[in-house]
Amino acid sequence: MSNSNTTSRRDFLKLTSLTGGGLLLGFSWFSAEAETPVIIHNLPLGATKGFNSYLSISTDGIVTIFSPNPELGQNIMTSFPMIVAEELDADWTKVKVVQAPLDTKSFDRQLTGGSGAVPHSWKRLRTAGATARNMLIQAAAKQWEVAAEECTANNGFVIHAKSGRQLGFGELADQAATMPVPKEVKLKDRKDFKLIGTGVKNVANKDIVTGKGLFGMDVYRKGMLFAMIQRPDAFGTKIKSVDSAAAKAMPGIVDVVVFKNNVAVVGKSTWEVSKARKLLKIEYEKDGATESTADHTNIFTTLLDGGTPVVRRKNGDVEAAFKTAAKIIKSEYHGPFLSHAPMEPMNFFADVRPDGVELIGPTQTPGSARTATSKLLGIPEDKITLEITRLGGGFGRRLKFDYVVEAAELSGIIKAPVKLIWSREDDMMGGSYRPAVQYRFEAALDSSGNLVGYKCRGAGINAGNPVREDNFPSGAVEHLLIDTVEHKSPITTGAWRAPITNFLAFAEQAFLDEVANAAGKDPVQFRLDLLDKARKSPVGAIKYNIDRMENVIKMAAEKSGWGKKAGISQGFSVYFSHSSYVAQVCEVMMQAGKPVVKKIYAVSDCGQVINLSGARQQVMGGIVDGFGHAMYGKVTFKNGAAEQKNFNTYRLIRMKEIPQIETYFVDNGIDPTGLGEPALPPTGGAVANAIFKATGKRLKNQPFIDEEVFTTTP
């Protein structure tokens, strides 16, 4: 695959007079807004307009890459620079990565979510590196008075092989900055990749293992106060009265402030604040429905039976197909609310001063957080700075910026710099949940066991659209109806890693297994047959790539020795999400009468793998996450309040519970797609299907641990 990319003047410019000399290129990773080149005569960060990241080469040969996206464990601070360094032919040991601060004037997509960053910037990052390499080569050629075509770059040097000369990037940086920006650069053929596709270690490892203060929680400023907020325990209630006298009288307490539905305790240390907070006497009154999980169970049934559905996809004549079916299979799957529970609880530092606002902390959406702060405080955005720290996990929770705005509002009220900290209980009780969902499936088989009719009705509580109507098996079934119903609740929900598909994939893949079983077919062959049907006689639009899906299915079957192992029960699952394809096989063995998940094989097609070490880690982490939550995760409600408040009752998977995992990647050279999410959705289905194989029992509700196969003693 050979690539040549036009370097638009809008994407690139030469910035001269970098303090201390060297070459500085500004480029737009996510937007191409700047119409004309801008010459900047000072350090870049304060003064740049229209460029959202920078690649600089200083005279000592250090290559600095500013990474705009928040890092939350998806390893973007390593994988992005790898792409630039590849095309630059940089010496990786001399590459430094710096988290860029928020610059909303320039950034279109300075956020982390949806596994979208890498696909979005693949070409741009490569072109950035190749452009700098071109300018370094021009500089060397000029100095040596040879043709640029005779020079090559390798590992931080420009080389003229004919004469045996070479110059380091640092030595060339000043002169490179005076070279014209090339209009077009040739990108490498992927067979020449040296860095991309290899395993490169996380650039932050050293800081992490020595306990450096990288996270928002670690922000401490002179004169800073500490605050915690008591929010209502129950959704659907509001403050009636507050008696804060006892809390205020506690040592170290500076103030107790009531705003909106919040009672904030402000003090001189975290511990003093958390102690005083317990002495608050707050009365709440009803402000909406205070729902319990038992209510939700009824609501789901009512909605599925009699709600007014929104039709998401319809092919053929479903009613007729079911009337003439030889066999009908019906099934329902239920997914509970989940907490995001990133390891680092919510927190943010805010300092609202007359001359401007300073915000520091962990957020997946710094731009929106700043806009919301600006609106709330009536302070223009250019008076607000936002520094992005490393995030101690996100899983979607930090796409919401409620805690950022709270911190800013509080700082504005108390007129002091403050770090707002959420306890784990605050995080689990008052934030945001994966929506609870329930799916009702029906399948119609003809007399030869072909799937001719398919219905899926999805019901969600604040779930938005709880289906992905164009996903497989849509396109492979003649008569199909997918529709949805929704219940609006005061319980706040939000995107949770692999939104919707994190449970939907389990439900769909487990149901398909039921159907294959009823048809008397092998689950793998059953899926392959459906794909074949979609290829030969597609029904309606097909929005997944049949070949890529077929390929991961076959590869997973082969790698796992599908159907060839004695004494082991295997379950299959395949899913397309976030533009990537992942097939998984789970292996279960019976031990003391209980199914034990021993191993999961995963074959991923995310196009070109950038960092093999990071990629494996994302897949393994995704599987552990998917497996752990399918097994143990649930938040239930009683009168509007979450019943699980911390890790003693909200069970997360631990080391001794993990299965072995084997990861494989498809090597097809297709442009890369994300990997932070796609490995999670297939896991629940593979596990449930393997457990069915082992026990004859279908798991239809999560968490599995509450299901009969685990609760009854054999």
Binding site: N205, T210, M343, F395, M655
Partner: protein
Amino acid sequence: MPVYTLKINGKQFKADVVADTPLLWVLRDHLGLVGTKFGCGIAQCGACTVHLNGVAVKSCVLPVSSIKAAAITTIEGLSEKGDHPLQLAWDEIDVPQCGYCQAGQIMTAAALLKRKPHPGEEEIDSAMHGNICRCGAYHRIREAVKLASTKI
């Protein structure tokens, strides 16, 4: 408020705090040692793990008044140059994802290796049971503990 003298990472520190302040918050809020993390506050996640006389303890539930003359080691003091076999193994195996839990994981593992330099897989798993990694880096954590145990 009483003033407590603490021996941390071989140095003496003074902290003027209320008696029931957990060591975690003394380290973080008062002494600037932020490597020890807050994750749950109820001894369930292990993010706050430090050593007390070489034994792994959860500092979020350890009142400062109970420590007395015991020697405390935090991640900052595990090694002088960040080259404890576990720290090196953590990089070698490329363990961290978000990284938030990792200081606690390493401290728990370090106490294990001190008492049992060559643990088997089951011993590793049960020693590490109190440490949650929400990112699910468990496979590599286990592998890195094994690797470090070969270097001790």
